[in-house]
Structure formats: structure tokens, C-alpha cells
Symmetry: C2
Subunit: 209 residues, 2 copies
């Protein structure tokens, strides 16, 4: 269960957010990420999230109107972080759209190589939450459309024909890699193949077909 009741002698002299003690809302989102990603959204109760965040259910519900909203906000946070990684890497690859895509994929690949990785949190949520009305679905679909757009624009800038189709294939490739981690495991193949595969698609060896 891993409760951690009241964190002994909190030692907070400053108002908020100073030592390593984040405000409750941030701690809750942090705990939500950790638990939802590791054990699945449906497999984790709000009580466990609050306890892991070092707080309780009541404070959680003062910041998030429902579990579904908490889930949506957790996903939004992940999406924002991924967007940021695009921009961060893009700044180092101005006027090199092909390099931009490859560097971003490589970065993702590195994150996925870690043994505790379970692929893309947003993709996993998409599978776990099929209900169309769930507030998280909006975030999921918007994020994936954004990914597709970024792939496509970079492909177009790189002068590739069929930019749209290549973007779709890159999406499939990435999601497939994340999923394969959870079926055939981290050791055998999939991650290693990712970058090389993407290079094919981006026509490093010439644009064929």
C-alpha cells in the first residue's frame, strides 16, 4: 500500500514551494503520474494517489473536481512536456527538419529504453479509457493530432513526397514501439529498430516509392 502518513517533522519554514516540498496540487499531479503510469489509471484509486502525494483525499478533491478531471489534467501535463521536448530539440535543429524528427525520436527512444518504461502514457490512457465522453479523451485526441501535424510539417519542410503518409507511419512506428515494450519486453529488438526504421522512412537512402 505504501502510505507514508504525515511525513515526520515537515520542517517547512518558508511559505510554499521552497525546500523540496511542492504545494499539494503539484505533489498530487506528481503522484498521479507515478501511479497511473505504473499501474494503470483504472488500477489506482484516488486514496492511493493522495497518500502517495503525502496528503489526503479531501485536499485532492479541493483541487480536482473528480478523478476523471485529475486524469485529464495528468494527461495534459504529459502532453505539454512532450510539446516542450519538440521545441527544445527543434531549437537545436533549425532548418534541418529531418534531423529534428530523428533527434526527437532518438530522445523518445532513450526514455523508452529504461526498464520501468511502459511506453507512451497517453497511448496507454487511450486504450484504458475507451468511453467517448471521458474528459481525458479530448486531451488524447488533441495531442495525437498535434504529433501528426509536427511529423507532417517537418516531412513537408524536408521536401518529402507523401508527407502525410510518412507522418502516419512514424506515428504507428512510435506507438508500436511503446506497446512492444509491454508484450515482447525491453531486451529484444523493437527499440533498436526504431531509429533505423525512421531513417528509411525519411529517405536517407533516397526517396523510393
Amino acid at each position: 500500500m505504501a502510505t507514508r502518513k504525515t511525513l515526520a517533522t515537515p520542517k517547512k519554514t518558508a511559505p510554499v514551494l521552497e525546500p523540496a516540498e511542492l504545494p499539494p496540487r503539484a505533489r498530487i499531479l506528481q503522484a498521479a503520474h507515478e501511479l497511473f503510469y505504473g499501474q494503470g489509471i483504472r488500477g489506482v484509486g484516488v486514496e492511493a494517489v493522495a497518500a502517495t502525494a503525502g496528503t489526503n483525499k479531501m485536499t485532492l478533491y479541493r483541487h480536482f473536481t473528480s478523478k476523471d478531471v485529475l486524469v485529464a489534467e495528468y494527461l495534459r501535463e504529459v502532453a505539454t512536456a512532450i510539446e516542450a521536448s519538440w521545441d527544445r530539440i527543434g531549437a537545436k535543429h533549425a532548418d534541418d527538419p529531418r534531423g529534428h524528427i530523428l533527434a526527437w525520436l532518438k530522445d523518445m527512444g532513450r526514455q523508452m529504453e529504461r526498464p520501468e518504461s511502459r511506453g507512451c502514457p497517453i497511448t496507454n490512457a487511450a486504450i484504458e479509457l475507451p468511453e467517448p465522453g471521458h474528459p481525458g479523451r479530448q486531451v488524447i485526441e488533441e495531442h495525437k493530432r498535434g504529433m501528426r501535424r509536427r511529423f507532417m510539417e517537418n516531412c513537408r519542410k524536408a521536401g518529402l513526397p507523401r508527407a502525410e503518409m510518412i507522418a502516419d507511419q512514424l506515428l504507428m512506428l512510435l506507438d508500436g514501439a511503446g506497446v512492444s515494450l509491454q508484450t515482447i519486453g525491453h531486451e529484444s529488438g523493437p527499440m533498436r529498430a526504431l531509429a533505423r526504421h525512421a531513417e528509411w522512412l525519411l529517405g536517407v537512402d533516397g526517396d523510393k516509392k
Copy 2:
């Protein structure tokens, strides 16, 4: 909820399995497939499965010792069906391993094109059930290893270099396609790209790299 209480005037003159009335165990597995696949395993209770099967919880537990076992057996059934499709299609493509793979992928693609499709049931289960001890995980991992083996053997028979890597890429591709359905939707791209993408991998246009 969709209960269907006792099915009015069952009209069963024969002992078992004659009209369209399957024995309870089969009906339960059928209902489990329908509900688990459509709404997610964790999102469906045993009561709903029993009701959809036209029976009740007690009978369900006479045939399956726990929900987890029911889940595992549901997955086993799916895996067996997929194995059968390999063999069925393989019979029509003896001595043509490349055609065997492509025909099988095309068949899968056709199934996934249906609007109610949510990709591979086994892949979805892998994401929904991260707990290592779950009886379903054994089925999942064994099945995925089997898929990988089938891809690899056919690649090898086709004389392709790097058969192992291509097998991994085909796996990623297929899982990625199923997942993309649930994120960017059925209409835009991914399914259309699958077969063409696989043809690349299988070196229809020459073995490059």
C-alpha cells in the same frame, strides 16, 4: 446495461448446443470477448458478463475459478483464433513466405478497418494488465513471442537478411496500427499505410540496407 433476463421461450428441444443456444460456458466466453474488448477488461464486472451471456454470476464461477482466469481464457481463445488464421492463410501460400505475411497482414488490416475495432485485444490487455503475476500475462507474452517467430521464420524462408529485425518492425507496425485507431481514429491514414509499409520491409523493391 442491456441485461436480457431469461430469453423468452428458449425453445430448446435438444439436449445442448443445437439451435443457436450454446452451452453456458461458451456463451460466457462470447460475452466476455464482446464486453472486455469493447469497454476494457477493468471496466467490466463479472456480473455484466454473466448477464450479457444470459446467465448469472454463480454459473460463471462454476466454470471459471476467478475473473482473472476468465480473462486469461478469453485471451487464450483470441490467441488460438489468430494462430488459426495464420495456418488458414498459410495453406493458400505454400512456398511463398512473403505472400503469406502480406496476405495475413491484409486480413488483419481488413478486420481493423471496421469502425468498432479497437485494435488487437491481446495488445490492449497487455496495457490494461501490467501486474506481472496476472494469469493473462502468460498468454500475452507467449502469443507475442509466437507472432514474432512466425514473422521471423517467414522472413528467413523468403531469404531476407536481418530477418529478426524485420520481424520486430512488423510487430511494431501491426501494434502501432491497432493503437493508432484509438488515438487519431479510423478515417485518417494508418490502416491504409499498413500494407504498403510492410511491402517496403519485405523488400519488394529490393533489399536495401
